[in-house]
């Protein structure tokens, strides 16, 4: 187990292994994304009250749910950086912060779009779900700027790791904000297989396909950007120079 663990930490090993995985992941992403978007945005039945506006939520729910994965991911990567000093973990964490900020932004944007039509407002400062999500965006922007503010990359890695570990608690607040406090934002819709009651199978299966598609998109983007990061940081290593000369 420890051999495998330290092997995974080797950038070269990760670069080679991820190169084999990528085509499969990209293929799966394209398939799920195509099914999810075409079905969710073009064929899903409208909600009886919201009309076709409800289709925005297929994208919103998938992106919002996935955006909550970034801090736990950065928590794990940060812990590995601090405890085991694994370089690869920091490379993943760096790109996860940037991707996470985009995911949070898209969550807020699609939510506002839906809210402006259904609620009659695109933003409410008093809603704890909305504000805690905005806080996640700011935290991620904070992690990104902390890294660029510190010149020594080792210090930057440690500082970002610590901020990611501390910031992880916000995910719990986002998740349970709608249950702990009363908010304008609705609670999560329950999973339901019964076609004759609210939230029937077609709504949540379409959402599930989008969630899988967005998670695959996350994986592909993170692997691609981490591979770039490896090439940049290991540019003096022999295997990277061989790779460049070969291509």
């Amino acid at each position: 187990m420890w051999v495998w663990f330290s092997k995974l930490g080797s950038p070269k090993w990760f670069y080679e292994l991820s190169g084999k995985w990528l085509p499969w992941l990209i293929a799966a992403m394209v398939i799920f994304m195509a099914i999810g978007l075409v079905w969710g945005l073009l064929f899903l039945p409208p909600d009886y009250q919201q009309g076709f506006t409800s289709r925005i939520l297929i994208v919103h729910v998938a992106v919002a749910g996935t955006s909550l994965a970034f801090f736990p991911l950065m928590f794990v990567a940060g812990t590995i950086t601090l405890v085991w000093r694994m370089k690869l973990a920091d490379m993943v964490a760096k790109n996860a912060a940037i991707l996470g900020a985009w995911f949070s932004f898209v969550t807020l944007a699609t939510g506002s779009l839906w809210g402006s039509v259904m609620w009659g407002t695109w933003w409410e400062w008093t809603d704890s779900r909305l504000v805690s999500m905005l806080f996640q965006l700011f935290l991620l922007l904070g992690v990104i700027s902390l890294r660029s503010a510190l010149e020594d990359s080792d210090t930057a890695a440690k500082a970002c790791a610590l901020l990611s570990i501390v910031g992880c608690i916000n995910v719990v607040i986002i998740k349970y904000s709608v249950e702990w406090w009363n908010t304008l934002h609705q609670v999560s819709s329950p999973v339901n297989m019964d076609a004759s009651s609210p939230n029937g199978p077609e709504f949540w299966i379409a959402t599930l396909i989008m969630i899988v598609a967005v998670y695959l998109f996350l994986s592909v983007s993170l692997i691609l950007s981490t591979r770039n990061e490896i090439l940049e940081r290991e540019r003096k290593a022999q295997w990277v120079q061989d790779l460049v000369l070969k291509s």
């Binding site: 009659g120 009363n182 304008l184 819709s189």
Partner: protein
Amino acid sequence: MKPHRRKKLGIILFIAAGLSVAVGFTAYALKQNINMFYTPTQVAEGEVGAGQHFRIGGMVKTGTVLGAPDSLKVNFVTTDFVSDVPIQYEGILPDLFREGQGIVAEGEMDAAGVFQASRVLAKHDENFMSPEVKAALDAAGASADNHMPAGTN
């Protein structure tokens, strides 16, 4: 695992656990401040001070919406099925506003006990239905009237 790594891991877990407890207590202490709105029952129990600007959240009681024919004035009653609060509002209502629907209104109580709203927002619950399912449910007699907005408890 080497001792110095074990120690570092311990410190990280301690920070994470300590922070969770601290945030948990803070959130609990701020419970009422973080709530977006008061329920009609809380208003009836006098939890809101006189003259205070606040938000109230509940359902639009069926059969209480009265619109003026020559202006945008509208009167309705909001309820959490325990207490009722009458609301007066002048302005454009969100499309989702209708009887039996959850709303959040912002404003203050007047001397007559009517909530003078300066803003009315529609609240949607977690239920999504296609028109076919809605029609089938109505036909079966299970109308959507028992949909309580989340948090109205």
